[in-house]
Subunit: 401 residues, 4 copies
């Protein structure tokens, strides 16, 4: 195990830190204010576009993509600390063209797309001129088990006819989201894991309706929101299928490994930020004649936060290293493990940071409540924790059978 960061990664970390200090943190309030003042909850702040231009100009762009030609050419271990930094502000990853679900979608196109598909969709995505969404989860089935997916993709001549209801389709409400990767059943007669396919659905195709925004607690997440969508007899040319019929489950699995590293490291970034806020608050507030920072209970929160963050980061780095070195198959236990433990760690730290801030910690005046909501989602997204624990246990038990 070697978690040493390369020179390249260290250099990017330094530049990214600087970018945050100079451009992101100073604009956190401006970002919120611009949306509020627009009177339109779906408004895309101009400051976002300015920051994107700046990041692109500074070469802080597409850092997630391991291909050196299309992206930054970083290994997972090299990219991990960069993902951590971008996690400190919830809307920051997009500034560097590193936000979900675009990153996963770009990886899928890069790995499985035809040249034509890459030209039409991967290129503008890498340039950041369009955004994308991923229509997977369905309201009517337990999507933690992907074989439950019930939307249909039916062959008819040169086309497929798509029908289904999807929700939590992040970005779909964004007018810049031009393309959707849609998962549905093409071959119901196949074995369970070979029934689904993924297909590219341009968002301006007839038959797609945005039914309503889904909320997380009271957040609808504006232009990045997660609406429920209805696909009714949507006609898509056959060439839009990704990889081929029956590969849907395989492609869905493929995005999970690096994607897991990304969102876990971003969650660690949230946790570090929350710890920083907790400590600063504890230094600036007094109760019962003593600074909060001098009170034993809060000191325990701070110490336990530090321990949990350290452990979570080390296990995520080990997972990244395993993927880089031996491939995803050899890292299955760890990929599931970080799903559970990183979010638990982050949730703990954020919760204690909120408590240290009092009611303010739950309000719009700190990023903490939004972080808490984000962390809570992660206990469900990509399959609830319980499914992953079960999977870890079965692998452990099988070693002894």
């Amino acid at each position: 195990m070697d978690f040493n960061y390369s020179e390249k990664s260290l250099d990017l970390q330094k530049r990214l830190h600087k970018f945050f200090e100079e451009h992101i943190y100073p604009n956190e309030q401006a970002y919120d204010l611009e949306i509020e003042e627009s009177g339109n909850s779906l408004h895309i702040p101009q400051i976002l576009d300015k920051l994107k231009d700046l990041a692109k100009a500074e070469g802080l762009w597409n850092l997630f993509l391991p291909d050196i030609e299309y992206g930054a050419g970083l290994t997972n271990v090299e990219y991990a600390p960069l993902a951590e930094i971008t996690g400190k502000v919830w809307w920051a990853p997009e500034v560097f063209n590193c936000s979900a679900p675009d990153t996963g979608n770009m990886e899928v196109l890069y790995d499985f797309g035809t040249e034509e598909q890459k030209e039409e969709w991967l290129k503008p995505l890498l340039e950041g001129s369009i955004r994308s969404c991923f229509a997977m989860t369905e309201p009517d089935v337990a999507s933690s088990d992907a074989t439950n997916i019930s939307s249909s993709i039916v062959s008819k001549g040169d086309n497929y006819i798509i029908n289904g209801r999807k929700w939590w389709t992040s970005n779909a409400i964004n007018p810049r989201a031009k393309i959707c990767i849609f998962m549905g059943v093409t071959n119901p007669e196949n074995a369970p894991h070979q029934r689904q396919s993924q297909i590219l659905v341009p968002m301006d195709t007839e038959g797609i309706s945005i039914l309503r925004p889904m909320q997380v607690y009271g957040y609808d997440d504006g232009y990045t929101g997660h609406p429920e969508l209805l696909f009714e007899n949507v006609v898509i040319p056959k060439k839009n299928i990704i990889g081929g019929e029956g590969l849907g489950f395989k492609i869905a699995q493929a995005r999970l490994g690096p994607g897991r590293i990304h969102h876990c490291m971003r969650a660690i970034g949230m946790a570090e930020r929350a710890l920083e806020l907790m400590i600063n608050r504890s230094l600036s507030r007094e109760a019962f004649g003593k600074q909060l920072a001098d009170q034993g209970v809060i000191q325990e929160w701070i110490a336990k936060s530090r321990i949990k963050i350290e452990e979570a980061r080390l296990l995520t780095l080990k997972t990244a290293w395993l993927i880089d070195t031996y491939g995803k198959e050899e890292a299955k236990i760890e990929i599931s493990s970080i799903k559970v433990t990183v979010v638990e760690a982050a949730s703990y730290v954020i919760d204690k940071a909120i408590q240290t801030h009092g009611a303010m910690g739950l309000s719009q005046d700190t990023p903490l409540a939004k972080m808490a909501a984000g962390a809570r989602v992660l206990r469900i997204a990509d399959g609830p924790d319980e499914v992953h624990l079960r999977s870890i246990a079965r692998r452990e038990i099988n070693k002894h059978r």
Copy 2:
């Protein structure tokens, strides 16, 4: 200890249950829909007013007030199970004129108000024709220690001049909130607990500005919301003071005992509702070839939820019984204890109910996310849990000194 419910309480429980079955649950969606369709997040749904009329007509009104003439004349033990029922839907307490902060304000007026104050403000509050707010917490100080309150109430001739910044002033944004109980410093030279006073401030007085709504996890709670307020040179006649100068702290303490029973029992109502939703979901959903209700992990959640709810309810009833029998002073340890443990229990149950629902549990499609936010607030409101634990410990330790 005798937690038997009187005939009167049992009868009211039965009628309240029936009212919920017939009128509240069937209107939960209508309530949300009416606000959504109004396009005005501050809209007060007409269905609310209809239900209030109905409740009043059925004698399910002012149940909280122990005075038999003004209210229902119930003891705390008798009222507790009614408060539990009203907690099952977050906006339901108002239907029975039993919602905070109006209940606490009415109690204060009943206990400390002059005849003139009662006539002008208590009467319409009891009739439900107006609403009220309580301006206590301030953004700039740790309000968990009430002696930190810094707003000023300065005597000038026949008037007081009020200045200060308050937040989390629930209801203040409601156009029907005609009166505010304001807490501030009248006598800075007094001993710490005799510096504050409470005064009645009509909300249409010049000098009061609503600065902005405060959010809790993205919720602004519409017409019941909790804005930040600025009081600038607000002139209020001296007769509006409650009780007299220097009684502010004492009056603030007085509302805490029964108020604690109310909100704890409502939290238990939330927890019972969440458990019900969890079980129903577990019976209607399958994963990996087995009903959720047959899966060991979810069974443990359900069993532990039942245990936690039972314990929380028994301790709250004991506290109610202690207050009824020996008075609040003798119930101090318990009044602090339920603050901490009831919310912990409710938070556990709600969290597991959310997890059982998957992403839907975090959305607007169940009442669970709103409940989770409400429970989180209760770990901070009325003083953070840590302050109450400290107070319990000091009393326990003092028994052995």
Copy 3:
């Protein structure tokens, strides 16, 4: 729900407290010392017998037995607070002839024994002139499911021939234990719950060997110890069967309800004692320039201990009241609930009391380590917690099916 204690119970509580202050606590060290100095780990201290005589003389005897002729004639609610007091010193229940498994055995004989069986065994047990044991658990099967019991009781003429291996047979090593209630299979062809019988086996019968003492951590519990026993072709007259063939499971269930109240209240007694020790230690020890009692972390332990004990006691009293009022069948969820939650509470308090004492807390210098071991056993005895949680969940879920 009415948890008021009767005059009778209050009077006994007072006398029992006095007895502990005057006779039990002052002899705690003498008890240990006498065993140590005897050089025989199975030695029965003379001080025990003296205290038993004293307790008998003062009418503090057989308090557990609800029959007024044979015992004290107390309801479960009345006896509960007495059991709590006796739990404060691990060997104290025997002083009042209220120790397991004798109490359960006496109840079984009282409820199911013939007149002859009562005369021969119940009478001397009630007098305290003999002791007894209960041979149920077997090393080779999961005894949490009583239908797994595999020892055989085979009819042969006027006798039964008994074969089997039992362990954790508390008291069996005590030379005063003259009688054993043995559970085994008489009717393997019956339905699973009607295969077992219970039979009275005099301990001096040929064919019984004590194989070895079982330890809990490093404790063997001396004369009250829990050996592994071998029964080889033990011949017992048929009249010794209790109740009749096939009633073994039913009789085993019958002892569980009141027995659960007893051991849960004793566990609460342990917890109260541990809290007392924790507070006293925190008042007598300083670290880093401050009394432990003034340190926030320890204050939280004390406060949470108080809350957990209160909740555990209330739920146990409710369970006792349910059994008294509606019978055991109506109290099934609660009987399982207290199994889990009381021990969890006691374990928490004891653990924190140990931590407050440092290494001394783990040694023979306080009763805490022995308590911790006792509490740990209770998470397994009478079926592991997980079995009880499962059973609670199934009952809760069935309400909604």
Copy 4:
């Protein structure tokens, strides 16, 4: 960060594993049996000496000592996985001359001893021909704060006169323990951290009495036990002082860094063993018609155990790497962190392994109960967890002051 094991470490791991498979595990029962059959709880089993000879012959000896001449010449990262293996059986470290407190004592002599002291005591310790003890903790003071130590070492001519009471002096009861490192106050007038000294006290000096063995949960740990000792006017020549007067605190600190790595890695070894036992038990036991290994609750225990062990190991390895690379001063937060988190992880795994075994798990029939006791001690030894959490917090907070 580079946790790659060197060829040398990998080779030793392999040989150590083999040694355990061939010699340690097969003798676990024989070891217990030999002591039991000797009728002497202090008996040193002959099998231990045979295994020591074997280990020495195979070069698996003094692995802990980083000096290549005296020991194996391993870095902390290289030794860590070896310490983990030795932790799997509680008495195994001594087989490889790697058991506490001998290892710490040898390190102290190596780092601070004079040539004469090394010749007389270090040499036979390294050969394993004698054992040693460390008299630090005192019954009358909070030894978590080393400046509280109150034993006196008074200069008188060419000698020191030593007086004091010590306890938890592991090994002191062992007849082979020929030498004791004693900590006491030589210079009461100095600044608090310069008052103490450490001195070599031959155990056959007049004036040393073994008062009694201290127990941990009923265990006295036989010949490795932890007695209370009285030192009365013990006369020791001045040349026996280690390093010089006033260096006691500094020397005590010096042993903590690598010592922490050692005991944490051994605790991880215990946890791995416990997990193995838990899985094997779950595969061999059925309840309610299903193998334990197929039950969701037990699967969660197994999965969470794996995650906790992984995290604990990674953080310990990082700490070892920090010490190797930057020195102990730069690893202070981590050295405290692993104290807390490794033991928490191990305690969790051991507790669940016990629960999976039922009552057997608490008995002498598995190593689990002994492990649980060992893990519980580690929450107190070297200073209670709370002291370490406080120290972590202060360092974290200081980064932001």
